[in-house]
């Protein structure tokens, strides 16, 4: 007995040693196994530059989506790993980062929330080798291979609100002011069509240099002498704030309505309560839109990041939609093969922060909200369901 029991102990000892060694090695082994099995997503958001005020929200919304996706089993059964990358600098810098993401990090998919110039640089670099989901509000018409656009298009932002202004405000004359680059020009091309369709006329159109230290006393004085019913604004960021503050400072806000095409919570905070009367915005997301989906989304966002979480806006919520779209798209296609993805994209449904979205022609038909500014808050006036993107790309 003693011998056997001695053997047992020796065996046990051996077993314990081997098991111990295995446990000791395991974290390394498991990590290696997991890394090979992770679904890596490169996420281009504004970490530097003037748009970097959006960075924290973009990152937080993306992380919230990833948490949900990983709880639901990841993408293709693999856990998602985000690699946040700066898309707020010069387009060429972002293109270099894209090369690194593809060759070194070997990402499975790229999501971008940044301006159109950077999108063009990234699309030319990625060359459809990995799927690329472009999420923010943009000028429409992007049909690059293996490229999927989720953002609000001019068609979605302009058609119904201009009809609303013509109907409710009896608007006849419109003045256009914007930054001088591709998004404002293409957006205004669409807007002009809807102005004409509603029997309105364009009383003036001007653009200011993009990225220059602009001031707006002269333009506002000109608008005052023209006396339009509506000003259509395609200025972005600080230009948008400066213009609207100057506009109200000259006392024009009482009589002239303003419809801005990139006006979200952060910009409105800059414009301020005393400069925001008679100012409208039409977006796919507002932080206080009344949808049930938004209530759930906001509750989850606050639970994860606390009461002092970065301000929610359409820039940020777009990243949340982008990740959910990535999961739906790749899971439906069953692989990251370009042809399978392009085919799977048609009729694809996925969750956004404000409800459900449907992809057609690699663009998204979505619910749009027309909001008026009440102080520094948006008050949704009209909800338009299933607004078509107006762009249809080959799938």
């Amino acid at each position: 007995m003693t011998k056997v029991s001695h053997l047992f102990t020796r065996r046990r000892m051996l077993g314990a040693t081997v098991a111990g060694a295995a446990v000791g090695l395991a974290p390394g082994l498991m990590q290696a196994a997991r890394a090979a099995d992770e679904f890596k997503i490169g996420l281009f958001i504004a970490l530097s530059g003037p748009a970097s005020l959006f960075g924290p929200t973009q990152k937080a919304c993306a992380e919230l989506a990833v948490e949900g996706i990983n709880k639901a089993g990841g993408i293709l059964g693999r856990q998602v790993k985000l690699i946040p990358t700066d898309g707020g600098g010069p387009p060429a810098e972002s293109a270099k980062s894209a090369v690194r993401l593809m060759l070194q990090d070997k990402v499975d998919l790229i999501i971008g929330s940044h301006d159109s110039a950077t999108r063009e640089a990234l699309a030319a670099t990625i060359k459809a080798k990995v799927p690329y989901i472009y999420t923010p509000v943009y000028e429409g018409g992007e049909c690059g291979n293996n490229l999927y656009c989720l953002g609000e298009t001019p068609e979605q932002q302009a058609r119904l609100p201009i009809g609303w202004l013509a109907r409710e405000r009896k608007a006849k004359t419109y003045f256009i002011i914007g930054d001088d680059y591709v998004w404002p020009h293409k957006t205004n091309d669409q807007a002009k069509k809807y102005v004409a369709a509603n029997g309105g006329t364009i009383a003036g159109e001007e653009y200011v240099p993009f990225g220059a230290p602009n001031k707006f006393e002269e333009a506002v004085t000109r608008i005052k002498s023209v006396k339009p019913d509506v000003v259509l604004i395609t200025l972005v960021g600080a230009d948008n704030v400066n213009f609207n503050r100057t506009f109200a400072g000259f006392g024009l806000d009482k009589e002239i309505a303003r419809l801005a095409f990139l006006l979200e919570e952060n910009t409105l905070a800059g414009i301020g309560a005393e400069s925001s009367s008679n100012l409208f915005s039409c977006m796919g997301y507002f932080a206080n839109n009344p949808s049930a989906a938004n209530k759930t989304f906001k509750a989850a966002y606050t639970a994860k990041f606390g009461a002092n979480a970065p301000q929610l806006s359409t820039i940020g919520a777009d990243c949340y939609a982008g990740l959910n779209c990535a999961k739906a798209l790749v899971d439906k296609a069953g692989s990251t093969d370009t042809k399978a993805l392009m085919a799977a994209s048609e009729g694809l449904g996925f969750d956004t922060a404000s409800g459900h979205a449907a992809m057609h022609g690699r663009q998204v038909d979505k619910t749009m909200f027309l909001a008026g500014c009440k102080g520094t808050e948006f008050e949704v006036i009209e909800t338009y369901d299933d607004v078509k993107s107006g762009t249809a790309c080959k799938v």
Binding site: P50, S52, L53, G55, P56, D180, E206, Y207, V208, P209, A212, P213, N214, K215, F216, E217, E218, A219, T221, R222, K224, S225, A238, V241, N242, R245, T246, G249, F250, G251, N266, T267, A269, G270, I271, G272, A273, E274, S275, Q311, T376
Partner: protein, 284 residues
């Protein structure tokens, strides 16, 4: 008179006078001390944040002026002692050092106040009617305040003993020191005066623009152009430079649009650099 012409004329006056005050601090630091202070815009930003803090606390807006003078003064004192003092007579090195400083100040503002835009209620809202045109009250007051600041500084620089000493220091630092003028202290004082004036400019513009970490970038280029055109070392040059840069920008923006306004400013600045590098009033 046509209200459009009246308003655009006042716009030109507004552009010139505010630009002169915004460039004033830089004119002192660059014009008198030869320090290429790229962080000038960030001192303007610091002043604007002072105004933001004051209004956020519900204090009267004018309290922002002493607060900005204290904050920008202390900041200027520390920067002069720690960064600039070893670099006098090395303009390019001051450029690189103050560029680094501007990055640091921007990130500091971001760390304290966050990256977002802040807006201040305009202290004097509404418009005033004259010659048939309505003009924002606060902007009219700014024109008056700017003219007063420029006049006061001109009188002080031309008439006071310290003004004379500064002129002596600028003319010949070694000789000035030999005569018992405390050159080091005088230079530090001039630098601090420059940053304080930048802070004052920041308080003035704060209610009109979004207060945010990057706002300084909007001012640094134009204020340097003012000095390129106006030349260094005189109040008349400063006002002349502001009149040319601010005036041309405003007039062309009013007549055509602001793209041409900005374009014309750039062309004028390049022409001056090439043809009259010492400024508008320089004698050959």
């Amino acid at each position: 008179m046509d209200p459009l012409v009246v308003t655009q004329t006042v716009n030109v006056l507004y552009a010139v006078t505010t630009l002169a005050v915004l460039a004033l601090g830089l004119a002192i630091v660059f014009g008198l001390l030869g320090v290429l202070n790229i962080a000038h815009g960030e001192f303007i930003m610091a002043g604007a944040y002072c105004a933001f803090v004051v209004t956020q606390q519900g204090w009267p807006f004018l309290l922002a002026v002493p607060l900005a003078l204290v904050v920008c003064g202390l900041l200027g004192l520390a920067v002069e002692r720690g960064v600039i003092r070893p670099l006098y007579q090395r303009p390019f090195d001051t450029l690189v050092a103050s560029w680094g400083l501007s990055l640091l100040l921007r990130k500091l503002a971001e760390a304290i106040f966050g990256p977002g835009y802040h807006s201040l209620a305009i202290p004097l809202p509404g418009t005033v009617r004259f010659f048939g045109a309505d003009y924002p009250t606060y902007r009219l007051v700014l024109i008056a305040v700017s003219l007063a600041v420029l006049a006061a500084l001109w009188a002080w620089y031309a008439g006071s003993r310290t003004g004379t000493r500064i002129r002596a220091m600028v003319g010949n630092p070694d000789l000035a020191q030999a005569l018992g003028i405390p050159v080091t202290r005088l230079a530090a004082g001039a630098f601090v005066a420059g940053t304080c004036l930048a802070g004052l400019g920041g308080v003035m513009v704060a209610p009109l623009v979004p207060v945010q970490p990057f706002m300084g970038l909007d001012y640094v280029l134009k204020t340097f152009f003012v000095l390129v055109v106006g030349g260094l070392g005189s109040v008349a040059g400063l006002v002349g430079g502001a009149a040319v840069i601010g005036g041309i920008d405003s007039i062309v923006s009013a007549a055509i649009d602001s793209t041409y306004g900005y374009f014309t400013v750039l062309v004028v600045a390049i022409l001056f650099l090439g043809l009259r590098p010492r400024g508008i009033f320089a004698r050959r």
